[in-house]
Symmetry: C2
Subunit: 214 residues, 2 copies
Amino acid sequence: MGRVVVNITASLDGYVAGPSPTLEEPLGKNGEWLHEWITVTDSWREQHGLEGGESNPDSEVVKESVASAGAYVMGRKMFSGGSGPWEDDPRSTGWWGDEPPFHVPVFVLTHHAREPMEMEGGTTFSFVTDGVESAVEHAQAAAGDRDVSIAGGAATVQQALAAGLVDELNLHVAPILLGAGTRLFGEDADPVRLEATRVLASPSATHLRFDVGS
Amino acid sequence: MGRVVVNITASLDGYVAGPSPTLEEPLGKNGEWLHEWITVTDSWREQHGLEGGESNPDSEVVKESVASAGAYVMGRKMFSGGSGPWEDDPRSTGWWGDEPPFHVPVFVLTHHAREPMEMEGGTTFSFVTDGVESAVEHAQAAAGDRDVSIAGGAATVQQALAAGLVDELNLHVAPILLGAGTRLFGEDADPVRLEATRVLASPSATHLRFDVGS
């Protein structure tokens, strides 16, 4: 069975989303700065059917993450594109367009049961209403030998970490200050000492890998 | 004239000190975890008159920082060893012992005027009561062609950054979560996009350098 890995980008001040998310800015004010290191890479562009882009340590990190993911787990806000009146709309087809960039099964954590949605290009959205543990189990069954990637947002990652479901945390630190927003590690978290098992860096991001299993 | 540089270590969740500082734990609960990457290096041990220690990217970073500093600026809590009833005691000789590890002039920001203290090994503590700008000016005069190093804590660094006095920010990110404490960048800070001009990393710390001078 594959591992359960988290990939998430945080700002230098610890935010994984900016404040006041809207439909236009689902990651909150300036939240898109977080992912600039990704969207300029050739591997991200290839995943999205585009040509060109930069080839650097960041693009290797993206490539590796895409290649190893056999299924994804995400929160409903990440599926629907942020908080708002639309997020629980059962007619919503999500934020990701007709051909989402995942190309594998995606399990969406939600309180609202609905039928799976088969999209173009191999992505299927399935909706899981009985918690993160169940979502990860479904994803592991779907992923086979490949990894389950917990894609975000912060609440989903926090739940998976707290439930002890995560084998590996890949924290990408972007050299930005968002000043406010959603923190990955919350307030008044328990102190933890981690040991990085891999560190890769470019001027655009620092990629820290931690083994958090057992 | 030398540059004004900041060297400070933050946890992955953005804290530069843990909660509830005491005389025994001036950096707060678990705050000493922040500096483990420093204290194991051969260059830190040499600065403190000790032998042995590790030679790695971290030790190069420490060595470079020590060699380039012609004077330091620090807050009074860093001088006295944390918050508490003793911190404004004019008889206090500080936290650093008879032979502090600086070996150059140190300018301490305080509200309480007192005479300079000449310590063993070349460190002189001078007390500046008219603000961070004045402290940096005094330090620049003392440092000559070498750099002024703003050593902390968070409040002093924040004041220096806000006053536009800093040329270079060296942020050392330790792979720990403190969960609570003092944040370097505070709450509701302005969003800022930075460009790292140098990134060095080891499993114990990631060293990010930013040019912040206009």
